[in-house]
Structures are given as structure tokens and as C-alpha cells.
């Protein structure tokens, strides 16, 4: 039986200093991350011991494929939050890695909490800018998008825990046609393209154009549809973490939910050997671009066996299998809800994609832009159109366009804002993130370092005490709340754990 799909998102946010365009984005990112954590309490450092982004799922270690950020050199901000997330500077962006969640709905809540954290952090960093207090103070703009429209791309990555026993090749075969076709349901939309194609003034996704190969380890150049980074942050004998780099950062809660839920279901079916032979694409990268460029979602792509299929048909293939899977097997309790939404979106895409205004990001943004084009007689290359494309993703709730639409009741929300607000400072309750977050909150002064799969305590003894957390599902509230509540110090906690 498929294992629980612990999952989460990591988002590199766009950052600009309005009024000071030359301001160093690395410094700006550090100001933002540090401002958020600056509460006068000691800070735990991130524990890198188990990290190895160059380990390849195909069974080897590749040199030089990921340019490590010079974090230790200039002391870049890197913090762990009480909600179990990691908040740090990666390259020239503030990055929020959500805590591990046990289901897609929780993952939406903690992903959305990340937007709120960035909004708060940017506001707190504002007075720290050199121009603060002057006549023309600069302003930090944070955008949850993936490209500046000028050739730069930055990522939103999804993570799924899968069974180590599954051959990686089978995951690649099944997930590639799925990834290429899921763009129609979960793209964040963007103005323009990377190929100077006049016939593509707008496309479904932010990221498709930046992908060049089918499988590989890289994330910053020659981006692959299936990323092979093999860094489970958990027991490597039992678990693999599928690191998915092909998706867009979504504002829409429905898109995040459907993206994570449908992908987790496909992975469960792969684990259980449930899927028939994959509908292999003749040219996956070309199809990826073609699907993203087609707003009708009706254009077929070529399959290896000589047939063709539209992205909607490819998605029906996976959805039909998933429905059958949930009827016949012991699927996750959240599966029926994901199936219902998946079907609803596919039916709407078949009838009229534009009917998903307010639900799917690429449609919502396109409809908004189309109205401006119509009202103001604008070309799709107009600055105002490009501005709207960016500002849709502004995380400020009173200025971001997605958020303005949401405030006006024009966006369908999936979760309650109260849940999001709670997730800003509190961890999920049924994963190891609970133990991480609670320990950080209660024993901050004694946490020397923490990572995804361990916490290191400095209890005043000669040696540091390392508590491994090699299973993402162990360390939740049911297992650790009483223990954490009972212990007044980390020393007591470690002693209790060792006894």
C-alpha cells in the first residue's frame, strides 16, 4: 500500500526595492528575513549535516550542478520558524519552505501562511532601508511569482515523500505526461514568452518556457521537467523525496490544492503499481511549451506511439485511473475531495476555460488583463499589462491584485483566513514539524541548530545533543505534546527522550 504522501512547498519570492532599483537584492532579502525573526530571542542556526543537493536519484553524485549560495561567507539570513518552516535567503530571493504537511489542504494553509509571513517581514524591514525617514522612502515589493518577464526565473518547488522501493524510472515515465498536461489546471499565467513569439502574448504558466530537458539534477540551468535531486531529509533507506521544480507559485488556493493533491495521487498510484503504461510523449519539452502557449487547452500533443492527445485528455486519463484507484484501494481520506475538484476543473476546461475566472490563476489573471485591453485599447505588450501581470502576485493584501479580487469576493477561497493566520506561528499537528516548531518556541535558547530531520540542543553539557527525526510522520502532537508540555527545559526533554 502506498505510504502517506507528506508534502510541502518551497517558494522563492520576487523582491524589488521600489524607488531604489539598484539596491542589492541579496541585502534586501536578508533585511526581510532578519526583520521577521528579530524578536530579541536567540536564533537557532540551520543544520546542514544531512543536506546534499548534488545527490542524484539515478544513483550518483554530480559535481557542480547546483551553485551553493555563499551563506556562511556573508552570514545570509537563515531561520527556522515556530510554524516549522524554514525562512531564508536563497540566491537573491527570500525563500519560505513550508513545514511538512500530511495532506494537501494543510499544505495550502501553510503555503498561504508563507505569503502572510512575507507581507509582515517586508513591512518590518521597511524602516531598516537606508532611505527610511527621507522625503522619498523606498519600498520593498514582494511578489509570489516566478519570472520578471525579462529572462530570469526563480522557483516554486513541491516536495513529496515517496517509497524508496519504487524505481525512479517508473516515476519519470508516469509523471512526465502528467506534469506536461497539469499546466492547464494550475498555471499562474504570464504575459509574453521567452521565444519572441508574437502569437503568444499570454500563456498558461510562468515557468514552462524555462525548461529545456526531460530529466536532470540542475535547477538553475538546463531545467528538467523531472528533477532528480535525491535528498530525502528523512531515512534514505525508506524514503525518497520527489523534488518537483516544474510548477508555478500559485496565488489561487484551489490551484495549490489541486496541484499537490493530484500529483500526490499519481505518485500513490505509481507506488502501488496501479497505472497502466504511461501515455509517453514524443517530445516532452516541446509539448510542455505548446500546452502552456495554448489558451484553448484543445491542441493535441504527439505521443510516442504515433497517436495524439490533448492535455485535457491526458488529464482525464490520470483522473479516471485515480477514481478507479480510490474505489478499489485504500486511498488517503482527502482523495475524494481532490477528485471532485479535479473533475470539476476538467469539465470546465472542456466547456469554456474562461468559466474558471476566480478559481484558476491563469484564467483569473487573463480575464482581468483582457478587460484592461478592451477598456483602454491596450496592446498586450503595454507596460500597464506587464505591471498587472506582476502586481497580481504582490503579497500585500491591500495592494496585490489577486488579494484585491479576493477582498471583493471575486475569488473562490478554499481555506479560512483564520486557519492561515493560525499557521503563521503554529506548526501542523500531525508531522515532525510539530516537534520542531514547538521546541523552537519553548526551548529557543537551547536549540543550537535545527534542520528538516534533526534538532540539536545545547543543554550546557560538554557535547551537543542531537535528536534525529528521520520519519516525517513521527513527532506530531499525539506523540510529543505531553512530553513538551511536561518539560521545563531542553535538558529535561532530552533526558526524557533518552530514557
Amino acid at each position: 500500500m502506498a505510504i502517506t504522501k507528506y508534502l510541502g512547498t518551497e517558494t522563492e519570492y520576487g523582491i524589488s526595492v521600489i524607488g531604489r532599483p539598484d539596491f542589492n537584492p541579496v541585502l534586501a532579502s536578508s533585511l526581510v528575513v532578519n526583520a521577521y525573526s528579530a524578536d530579541g530571542r536567540p536564533r537557532a542556526r540551520w543544520d546542514y549535516e544531512e543536506e546534499n543537493p548534488l545527490r542524484d536519484a539515478r544513483g550518483f553524485t554530480q559535481p557542480g550542478a547546483h551553485e551553493a549560495p555563499p551563506e556562511d561567507d556573508i552570514g545570509l539570513a537563515n531561520s527556522i520558524l515556530t510554524n516549522g518552516a524554514r525562512f531564508y535567503v536563497d540566491h537573491a530571493h527570500p525563500e519560505y519552505s513550508s513545514p511538512e504537511c500530511s495532506n494537501p489542504r494543510d499544505a495550502v494553509i501553510w503555503d498561504k501562511a508563507g505569503e502572510r509571513i512575507l507581507e509582515i517581514a517586508a513591512a518590518k524591514a521597511q524602516p531598516l532601508l537606508p532611505s527610511a525617514g527621507t522625503e522619498q522612502p523606498a519600498r520593498i515589493l514582494i511578489t509570489k511569482n516566478n519570472t520578471d518577464g525579462k529572462g530570469a526565473a526563480y522557483g516554486m518547488h513541491e516536495n513529496y515523500i515517496v517509497d524508496r522501493a519504487i524505481p525512479f524510472g517508473e516515476i519519470v515515465r508516469q509523471i512526465t505526461p502528467f506534469f506536461v498536461s497539469r499546466q492547464i489546471m494550475v498555471g499562474a499565467g504570464r504575459v509574453g514568452n521567452e521565444f519572441e513569439l508574437e502569437e503568444v502574448p499570454y500563456q498558461l504558466t510562468q515557468r514552462a518556457d524555462f525548461f529545456e530537458v526531460e530529466v536532470g539534477l540542475e535547477t538553475t540551468l538546463k531545467r528538467p521537467i523531472v528533477n532528480t535531486r535525491d535528498e530525502p531529509h528523512a531515512d534514505p533507506e525508506r524514503f525518497r523525496r520527489l523534488h518537483v521544480i516544474i510548477g508555478d507559485a500559485n496565488m489561487s488556493e484551489f490551484c495549490t490544492y489541486l496541484k499537490l493533491g493530484s500529483t500526490a495521487l499519481v505518485l500513490s498510484m505509481v507506488e502501488d503499481g496501479f497505472l497502466p503504461e504511461a501515455p509517453a510523449l514524443a517530445t516532452a519539452v516541446k509539448s510542455l511549451h505548446a500546452v502552456s502557449h495554448d489558451l484553448t487547452c484543445q491542441q493535441a500533443v504527439d505521443l510516442k506511439d504515433g497517436r495524439t492527445a490533448t492535455p485535457i485528455e491526458l488529464q482525464w486519463h490520470y483522473l479516471d485511473q485515480a477514481k478507479k484507484y480510490c474505489e478499489e484501494r485504500d486511498a488517503a481520506p482527502w482523495a475524494p475531495d481532490v477528485l471532485a475538484l479535479w473533475e470539476r476543473v476538467l469539465v470546465a476546461l472542456e466547456d469554456d476555460p474562461m468559466s474558471l475566472d476566480g478559481t484558476v490563476d491563469w484564467v483569473t489573471k487573463y480575464r482581468l488583463l483582457q478587460r484592461y485591453v478592451d477598456r483602454d485599447g491596450l496592446a498586450w505588450t503595454a507596460s500597464k499589462i506587464k505591471l498587472i501581470d506582476v502586481q497580481y502576485h504582490d503579497v500585500r493584501r491591500d495592494k496585490g491584485l489577486y488579494n484585491t479580487l479576493a477582498a471583493g469576493g471575486r475569488i473562490e477561497r478554499l481555506v479560512d483566513e483564520a486557519e492561515v493566520q493560525r499557521a503563521i506561528a503554529n506548526p501542523p499537528e500531525d508531522t515532525r514539524a510539530y516537534f520542531r516548531g514547538r521546541c523552537l518556541d519553548k526551548f529557543r535558547g537551547e536549540v543550537a541548530a535545527a534542520g528538516w530531520d534533526s534538532i540539536i540542543f545545547d543543554t550546557g553539557k560538554d557535547t551537543l545533543q542531537r535528536v534525529p527525526m528521520m520519519d516525517p510522520g513521527r513527532g506530531g502532537r499525539a506523540m510529543t505534546q505531553e512530553l513538551i508540555d511536561r518539560c521545563d527545559t531542553a535538558a529535561e526533554l532530552v533526558a526524557a527522550l533518552q530514557s
Binding site: 537573491a92 497517436r307 491526458l314 482525464w316 486519463h317 506587464k386 491584485l401 469576493g409
Partner: protein, 61 residues
């Protein structure tokens, strides 16, 4: 998938219970376009040209 034609010409029959919107869904109002654009006009960054010129990001990941 198709062999020249489409394998699935029509969507499958859908049971009523499966197409109901989740109970948390709020009704979506996209009818009043003028109001919508007025709302957006109020929050749009002022100088679009300047904004777009200066919106430059470094690559990441």
C-alpha cells in the same frame, strides 16, 4: 488519447454528488466589470512604465 479521432468524445457521466462545490466555496461575482476595474485602478502602481523598467529579478533555485 486519440487514433486520429478522440478516444473520449464526451465527458464521462458525472454523479450529482461529485460536482457539488466544496462547502467552503463562496459565490464568485465577476459580473460587474466597471466596478472591478475601478477597484483595481485604485491600487495599481502609479507609473507603469517606470515600474516595469525597474522590475528586474535575479535567477534563482
Amino acid at each position: 488519447m486519440s487514433d486520429g479521432g478522440q478516444v473520449r468524445k464526451q465527458r464521462p457521466k458525472v454523479e450529482e454528488t461529485e460536482v457539488e462545490e466544496p462547502s467552503t466555496a463562496e459565490s464568485v461575482d465577476t459580473s460587474d466589470v466597471d466596478d472591478l476595474l475601478d477597484e483595481i485602478d485604485e491600487v495599481l502602481e502609479e507609473n507603469a512604465e517606470e515600474f516595469v523598467k525597474n522590475y528586474v529579478q535575479k535567477g534563482g533555485e
